[in-house]
């Protein structure tokens, strides 16, 4: 295995484009573990940790840009990530355990595209956008367009994620991430990421994403729609939950059966909505 430490994004892109089977190294928490577990090493490892712009966190009027190499520990403790953006802060704070959060990065979590971790679902709930750099320049895409399958993104050879944009969202919106896991520190059995805005007791906006229940974060527009305009009564939540459970494609594994996961979705949705409502000022 060869190794490179580019100092600019453009240098990184040309290394990735010029080499078949090159991979980016971000925090290493997953990639190195996979190499230990017997997955073949890439021919070229392109470490991103010497590219200064990738570690920047920049506040704009309409949201916050998170550099791809910003670690979950930093995301978890940044008080500027409030309102709708709180869903990502809260997800980062609950991801795995402290030493993983000290290593793993937001861009690494996007590139890994593990549907069983916190970050992909939280980013989709936050309507995040990803800036992708490639041989043809940079483009900004909705983050969900990157997630195409378990551990697979739509990124092509020569491309890397440079930063993530989290929009502030509508005034008064709040984000929340709720996970159920066997023990703290384990992968979630099911997680719910949502952004909610209320007007009095009426739901004005809802964007709900389910994690660990399919190959990519599960977002069902009809479920959001079922909640908007309601008072989030028991029936409303149950029906939105049913729409999500029907669309889910969970697997049976050591953390729970597919049936159990489907049963959890509406219940966790109700709990996540109640917790989020406590933080709304509608």
């Amino acid at each position: 295995m060869r190794y490179a430490e580019p100092e600019t994004v453009e240098e990184g892109v040309s290394l990735l484009a010029a080499t078949e089977d090159a991979r980016c190294l971000a925090g290493g928490a997953s990639l190195v573990a996979m190499m230990h577990a017997g997955q073949p090493s890439p021919t070229l490892l392109v470490s991103l940790h010497r590219i200064p712009e990738l570690s920047a966190m920049v506040e704009a009027d309409d949201g916050i840009w998170l550099g791809a190499m910003v670690r979950h520990r930093t995301v978890a403790s940044d008080a500027r990530l409030r309102g709708a953006m709180e869903v990502v802060r809260s997800a980062a704070a609950q991801l795995a355990h402290p030493a993983i959060r000290n290593m793993a990065t937001i861009g690494g979590s996007v590139g890994l595209a593990d549907p069983n971790t916190e970050i992909p679902g939280a980013l989709v709930a936050a309507s995040a956008q990803a800036e992708v750099a490639g041989p043809g320049g940079r483009r900004l895409v909705p983050v969900e367009s990157l997630f195409v399958d378990r551990f697979r993104t739509s990124l092509v050879r020569g491309e890397l994620v440079t930063r993530i944009f989290l929009p502030r969202g509508t005034a008064g919106a709040v984000g929340h991430h709720l996970r159920l896991s066997r023990v703290s520190g384990d992968y979630p059995t099911v997680s719910i990421s949502l952004v909610l805005a209320m007007e009095g007791d009426t739901c004005r906006q809802a964007r709900v994403v389910v994690g660990s229940c399919g190959p990519v974060p599960l977002h069902v527009a009809a479920a959001d729609k079922r909640l908007v305009g309601t008072r989030l009564g028991e029936q409303d939540v149950a029906e939105a939950g049913r729409l999500l459970a029907q669309a889910a494609a969970p697997v049976d594994d050591v953390r729970g059966s597919a049936e159990y996961r489907r049963m959890l979705i509406p219940r966790l949705l109700g709990r996540a909505l109640s917790l989020a409502r406590e933080h709304t000022h509608g």
Partner: protein, 166 residues
């Protein structure tokens, strides 16, 4: 076999220049090249915490850290925590509270506790338990480990924090 790259690592304040293949982890370099075997290999997956070291003062898994990426970073291992042949206060507290059984996890736990106390000299029991979230101990049940660390958190003139079984 991959080519070796020259890398300078600053470990416990001493800079060592080594030739290291890029796929080798800090854990391997510490144990095999530097014979610093206080850092333990457990799961090699970032799940157990036996291999924990501090990088710029923060706990990370040396089993998941490629050595070549750590140029210019301050690495602290268990060999670097004692001062003048005196045990570190965390080590002393763990011994005094009978928290050590087989001891395999202890270098990681000592470094986690040191990082916590360096950042927050008076952590609550809850903060201690959260900080230990990356360290697995299969002997002790953690109660005495938490008690030992909490004993260092007591502020002069204040009573001890509430007990560990929260």
């Amino acid at each position: 076999m991959a080519d070796e790259l020259p890398v300078s690592l600053t470990i416990n304040g001493t800079t060592r220049t080594l030739a290291v293949a890029p796929e080798r982890t800090l854990l391997e370099v510490l144990r095999e090249d530097l014979h610093a075997t206080g850092t333990r290999r457990g799961c090699d997956q970032g799940s157990c915490g036996a291999c924990m070291v501090l990088v710029d003062g923060e706990p990370v898994f040396s089993c998941l850290s490629l050595a070549v990426t750590l140029r210019g970073r301050a690495i602290t291992t268990i060999e670097g925590v004692e001062a003048g042949r005196e045990l570190h206060p965390v080590q002393r507290a763990l011994v005094q509270h009978g928290a050590v059984q087989c001891g395999f996890c202890m270098s990681g736990i000592v470094l986690t506790a040191k990082a916590l106390l360096d950042r927050n000299p008076h952590p609550t029991v809850d903060e201690i338990r959260h900080a230990l979230g990356s360290n697995v101990c299969r002997c002790s049940g953690y109660a005495k480990v938490v008690e030992a660390i909490a004993s260092l958190s007591e502020q002069p003139g204040k009573s001890a924090p509430a007990g560990g079984a929260s």
